[in-house]
């Protein structure tokens, strides 16, 4: 005689549901052992063991970490801007994102205040120029040097070239896993007038961006003087072309980008703060050097940015007042101290 449970199950199979209900209930649920109970106890013990012991928690932690791809380290650690991080983006951040999955900031010096232009020149290592037309005192900051290292992802780069409409770009296989290092030298920032308070580096600050400037900010001018970046670039990597893609990503139209690149090479462009929004631009001359007056389109942030290059140094003059003030201020630039 087979066991009761077998009888019950085979009975059900034989007649396919014609089994008497009382028989089925009595045999199937009354006498059948609850096989899930030992399993539930084992699972509970394992879960408690993992949750309450240090090795268990470590195991959980490792399991949790293994469930997600390691997050790439963001390139941008500090982005000196007109009045806060949200108003500008640096070209080198965009290029870093295009070149590699992961970037490492190997050097990130702190910004230093300078009491005088001479001290700023001393700290920055080049002769600082300030506009003679502004007679009020400037707040001087020497922004720290920064080095970003990355490893080229060739497949990613090829796709980006394709998306940029240049699928036939020649990229040698040796570029894959090649090392790139971009070094940004110390720069000098001079602030004049009543400038908006920088946006706090908080979630709310990032989402909202800078507040609309008030009429009090009309006299605010921020002058930035930046030496070109130096870089270790593997052969076959066209940085000028990458900069073109980055500039268009930053919001320039193809025409604006071409005019910009006619003045600034990629080394200068990568060191500059660029406006996030731009409505129009004019080609200008500042003390005999070619430049661009960018009229920004953002409701928040400055109203113009004048950029030009004199010698090796790239200049950026950002203002919250009338764009008509830009050229007279820039033309009044005088050197404060010879390079040490």
């Amino acid at each position: 005689m087979p066991p009761a449970r077998s009888v019950c199950r085979s009975g059900w199979r034989e007649v396919g549901g014609s089994i008497a209900p009382e028989f089925g209930v009595a045999m199937a649920s009354g006498n059948r052992p609850k096989r899930w109970q030992p399993l539930a106890i084992v699972v509970t013990v394992i879960v408690l063991g993992l949750a309450l012991t240090a090795p268990g928690r470590d195991l959980w932690q490792r399991f949790f970490s293994s469930l997600r791809i390691e997050k790439p380290k963001p390139v941008s650690v500090t982005i000196p801007g007109f009045s806060g991080n949200a108003s500008t983006r640096r070209l080198q951040d965009a290029i870093g994102g295009m070149l590699a999955d992961t970037t490492n900031v190997t050097l990130d010096e702190k910004d230093q205040p300078a009491a005088t232009p001479e001290e700023a020149s001393q700290l920055a290592g080049f002769a600082v120029q300030l506009p003679g037309k502004r007679t009020d005192a400037a707040t001087l900051i020497v922004t720290g040097a920064r080095t970003v290292a990355m490893t080229v992802n060739l497949a990613q780069l090829q796709t980006i070239y394709r998306e940029a409409g240049n699928p036939s770009a020649s990229l040698p296989p040796s570029l894959n896993d090649a090392k790139v290092a971009i070094r940004t030298a110390k720069a000098v920032q001079a602030k004049y007038g009543h400038c908006p308070v920088p946006v706090a580096n908080t979630l709310q600050g990032q989402i909202q961006g800078p507040p609309p400037p008030s009429t009090d900010n009309g006299d605010c001018v921020v002058l930035t003087e930046t030496p070109p970046v130096t870089a270790d670039i593997p052969p076959g990597l066209d940085m000028q072309q990458l900069a073109a893609i980055g500039l268009e990503l930053a919001g320039m139209s193809p025409n604006q980008r071409q005019a910009f690149q006619a003045i600034f090479n990629w080394q200068s462009a990568m060191a500059m703060p660029l406006p996030r929004f731009m409505r129009s631009y004019d080609s200008v001359t500042v003390n005999g050097a070619p430049g661009m007056l960018l009229n920004t389109a953002g409701r928040r942030g400055p109203t113009y940015e004048l950029i030009w290059k004199q010698g090796a140094i790239a200049y950026s003059l950002v203002g919250y007042g009338s764009a008509a003030d830009a050229l007279p201020i820039a033309s009044s630039m005088t050197e404060t101290r010879k390079q040490p």
Binding site: S18, K71, M98, N153, Q156
Partner: protein, 277 residues
């Protein structure tokens, strides 16, 4: 195997008889129509601006991802709604007693139905997924990266949802089954988006909460992996699209989903085999 194939074919025939696939395809076609109009309007808008073709490509690729996400959501909801009463409904109505007869065992019956639904879902997802890509390509010229990876992961996501409806269908009534599985889907959905939000707040705790949600129901994490595979590299590295991957499910997470599917299906078979009908 023959018994399983027979039940699978019967299930497919039943789906065809009830016009499930056709009505779902009709809903998909309606969505595709709206998607195509939106893309066309976007292209016309871009043509009136002096915008870089490169940036335009990124925006249009982002719109394609939104189209594929809608296709994915529709497929998962279709999977759940069409399968919630396949076991639970037949058990409560007594129909199952006419089906579960010799020589077909209960496990064969369940697997046959499961495979039948998988077949239907595969047909549906392949049609809507490719149609979405075809519409996007014809209007904008944009194609996703690794579309096959994306397609397989979306099908996998639907199969996970299907296994849950089968498992809970062996315990609960149709309505309860639907509430539970849709609830679990909502948990996964919320967990996935919480992880995305963690990109703004840099909160490790939110990421952990998202991972826990994906352990409870890994379906949404499979979509996010699919989005990671299909998005343009630049959209991924520069966070262009709403699916830019802040917290990317790894291969281990995909393997976990596979183990999860086996366990859920195993429990479903075990319980269906053991329960009273």
């Amino acid at each position: 195997m023959k018994n399983i194939a027979t039940i699978a074919l019967v299930t497919l025939r039943e789906a065809a008889r009830r016009k499930i696939l056709w009505t779902a395809l009709l809903a998909g076609a309606l969505l595709l129509g709206i998607f195509a109009i939106a893309l066309r309007l976007q292209v016309v808008e871009f043509q009136s601006r002096a915008m870089s073709p490169f940036v335009r490509y990124q925006v249009e690729a982002g719109m394609l991802m939104i189209g594929l996400y809608t296709c994915d959501l529709l497929a998962v909801v279709l999977t759940i709604l069409t399968s919630i009463d396949t076991l639970a409904g037949e058990i409560s109505s007594g129909t199952i007693q006419a089906i579960a007869t010799k020589p077909i065992s209960r496990s064969q019956l369940l697997m046959g139905k499961f495979i039948g639904f998988v077949g239907m879902i595969v047909v549906y997802v392949v049609i809507t997924f490719n149609a979405t890509i075809a519409v996007a390509y014809s209007v904008t010229g944009v194609l996703p990266e690794h579309p096959l990876h994306g397609l397989l992961l979306i099908i996998f996501e639907c199969i996970i949802a299907l296994s849950l409806t089968f498992m809970f269908g062996t315990w609960f009534s149709t309505l309860t089954n639907g509430v539970i599985v849709l609830g679990l889907q909502a948990v996964a959905f919320m967990g996935g988006w919480l992880e995305q939000v963690s990109g703004f707040s840099q909160s490790g705790h939110i990421v952990t909460l998202g991972i826990v949600s994906s352990l409870i129901n890994p379906s949404e994490s499979l979509w996010r992996r699919a989005a990671y595979e299909m998005q343009t590299p630049l959209a991924g590295s520069l966070s262009f699209s709403p699916f830019a991957n802040v917290s990317i499910p790894s291969s281990t997470a995909v393997i976990y989903a596979g183990v999860y599917l086996c366990v859920v299906l195993g429990i479903a078979i075990y319980h269906f085999d053991a329960r009273d009908l």
